[in-house]
């Protein structure tokens, strides 16, 4: 059932369109740098300044640009649709009487959402790597610590960074799946999830509520940059993954409690 569900998700026009957009953003970023030249240091997102020297940085710049807003938005769309989408067109009652088992269905939906998070982040990395490779020279990477790394190492670290970015979306994805079990209106679930994502960003920018910052699922979303240090600094990445895991545990349990007991009237 998991394989069928994965195929079902990635065959959808909507999901493909989202992935294409994620692929296109870093690609267009690379094109823009080619046409206008990179920003002088300190201007624009991290990594953007290095793009013209080494195409690999287009992928890293792409991740930096998309992680605050675009990626979470698409995650809200996909996760908010998981249960509410099935309920709204009525297929939920047929999946349940098939019978899929409520816990199992929810588990499968959760895993496909996770797959989407990773796929979306990898699409950004792929778009950046391909666009960067076409438009700029590739070569040894100068790490953030100033040491030089072989190209293959740099690409490996970039892909790993994409996986970390994908994983840092899991907290929001778990919230989205939970919200999706509360309603039969998928657009509502998507909007609420996206709203929660934005709220977390805003709170993270307000110094007066600094005490909640470590608990916000967006707080460590740029930690992936630490992969480009030598040696790699795992501290913040570890914190981020733990935090995401915590959100998954809490909202996963809530979603399970809700979905396994609710009346399916749609």
């Amino acid at each position: 059932m998991l394989i069928a569900e994965l195929r079902h998700l990635f065959r959808r026009t909507r999901v493909r369109a989202l992935l294409i957009v994620m692929f296109a953003i870093p690609f267009l970023l690379a094109v823009a740098v080619k046409i206008n030249g990179g920003p002088s240091d300190g201007n624009g997102p991290t990594f953007l300044a290095q793009v013209s020297q080494n195409g690999v940085f287009a992928a890293l710049a792409g991740l930096t640009v998309t992680i605050p807003f675009f990626l979470p938005l698409t995650v809200a769309v996909v996760s908010g649709d998981t249960i509410a989408g099935e309920a709204s067109i009525g297929t939920l009652r047929y999946l349940l009487t098939r019978p899929s088992g409520r816990g199992r269905l929810l588990g499968v939906k959760a895993v496909t959402t996770l797959a989407y998070c990773l796929a979306a982040a990898l699409a950004v990395a792929a778009g950046g790597l391909i666009g960067g490779a076409i438009l700029f020279p590739l070569g040894r990477i100068i790490s953030l610590s100033g040491t030089s790394l072989p190209l293959i190492d740099g690409i490996g670290r970039t892909l790993l960074a994409a996986l970390v970015v994908g994983a840092s979306l899991l907290g929001l994805a778990a919230i989205g799946v939970f919200v999706s079990t509360l309603t039969d209106v998928p657009v509502g679930a998507m909007a609420v999830t996206a709203g929660i994502g934005v709220l977390s960003l805003i709170l993270d920018a307000v110094p007066q509520v600094a005490f909640v910052h470590p608990w916000l699922f967006t707080h460590q979303q740029l930690a992936f940059g630490d992969l480009l240090r030598t040696p790699v600094r795992w501290n913040n990445i570890g914190k981020d993954l733990l935090l995401q895991l915590g959100y998954v545990a809490v909202f996963g349990t809530a979603a399970w409690a809700r979905f396994t007991t609710r009346d399916v009237l749609a």
Binding site: I89, T91, T97, V264
Partner: protein
């Protein structure tokens, strides 16, 4: 029993949509679950299939206690609940494949063959590759039936299966149900159209405002309703009193047709007395009560009265 419920009740807020229903659906029967719109049929079916939790009562499906053993029970049940529902952007065939993959006993090796067989059975082979979005209401209903027939089942629960179908489609569904019943499948069939199911059911349960008014074999229910005499005469005003003196009840005159409950009085005696009274009898027949008559006699209301 294929389905047995004990005091099954569902309240939405203060309103009991289903109130203390005790269903007994024998294995091998074609059970017509009848009632006007809003009488609680779909709500009952949702409870039977574990989609909603009863406010009170217990039930068994295919001899298994629900909801504890619902996965085992539901694996042997095919269902159509409140109309079909599929993904509009997939073809009929792809929709069936997805549903088949979503549960137990949906072996991949046999899937394509089973899908084609089910599509053929409901007459959708030609439209199999069309997007569901482009299906007509009748085609959608057929696809819903195909989904219920994807694997061999012991019990089919069909909620208003002829909804939105033309008379030809309705006839085909009736034949299909008869065929399935002949193969030994128990069919539990809800409908608000009495005449439509009267011909294929062996058993009937009648719902009204959340209550199960009566259930039993169709033969028994009709016998309980009593036979009626129907005469076409030249002087209906005079015919009524004649029948009344013979002890016939519930005399109804409609134009030159008079009908009355026979209550054991032989029809030939009625005919003789009418003729002796100088009334010209043009036609005489004895009618078994239709389900509709039965319903009216049970509720004192027409069947199409919804709450």
């Amino acid at each position: 029993m294929a389905i047995a419920t004990h005091g099954l009740t569902k309240r939405f807020g203060d309103v009991a949509a289903v109130d203390g229903v005790d269903l007994d659906v024998p294995a091998g029967s074609v059970y017509g679950f009848l009632g006007p719109n809003g009488s609680g049929k779909t709500t009952t079916i949702r409870m039977l299939l574990g989609l909603i939790e009863p406010s009170a009562g217990t039930w068994e499906l295919l001899g298994r206690r629900m909801p504890a053993q619902s996965l085992q029970a539901l694996a042997e049940v095919g269902a159509l609940i409140e109309g079909p529902a599929f993904y509009p952007w997939l073809s009929g065939r792809d929709n069936l494949a997805r549903l088949d993959a979503a549960g137990p006993d949906g072996q991949r090796a046999t899937r394509a063959g089973r899908i084609e067989a089910a599509l053929g059975r409901v007459g959708l082979t030609a439209a199999a590759t069309k997007k569901y979005r482009a299906y007509s209401l009748g085609m959608r209903q057929r696809l819903g039936l195909a989904a219920a027939l994807l694997r061999p089942r012991h019990l089919l629960v069909l909620d208003e299966p002829t909804n939105g179908m033309d008379p030809q489609g309705t006839r085909e569904i009736r034949n299909l149900v008869a065929e399935l019943a002949h193969e030994g499948t128990t069919v539990f069939l809800s409908s608000h159209l009495l005449a439509e199911v009267e011909q294929i059911c062996t058993h009937v349960g009648v719902m009204s405002e959340g209550h199960l008014l009566t259930q039993g074999t169709l033969t028994d229910l009709r016998a309980a309703g009593g036979r009626r005499l129907r005469v076409e005469v030249d002087d209906p005003a005079a015919a009524g009193p004649v029948l009344g003196r013979l002890g016939l009840g519930d005399i109804v005159t409609d134009g030159d047709v008079v009908t009355a409950k026979l209550d054991g009085q032989p029809p030939e005696v009625c005919n003789r007395d009418l003729v002796h009274a100088g009334i010209g009898v043009r036609a005489l027949s004895v009618e078994r009560p239709s389900l509709e008559d039965l319903f009216v006699s049970l509720t004192g209301e027409g069947f199409d009265v919804a709450r």
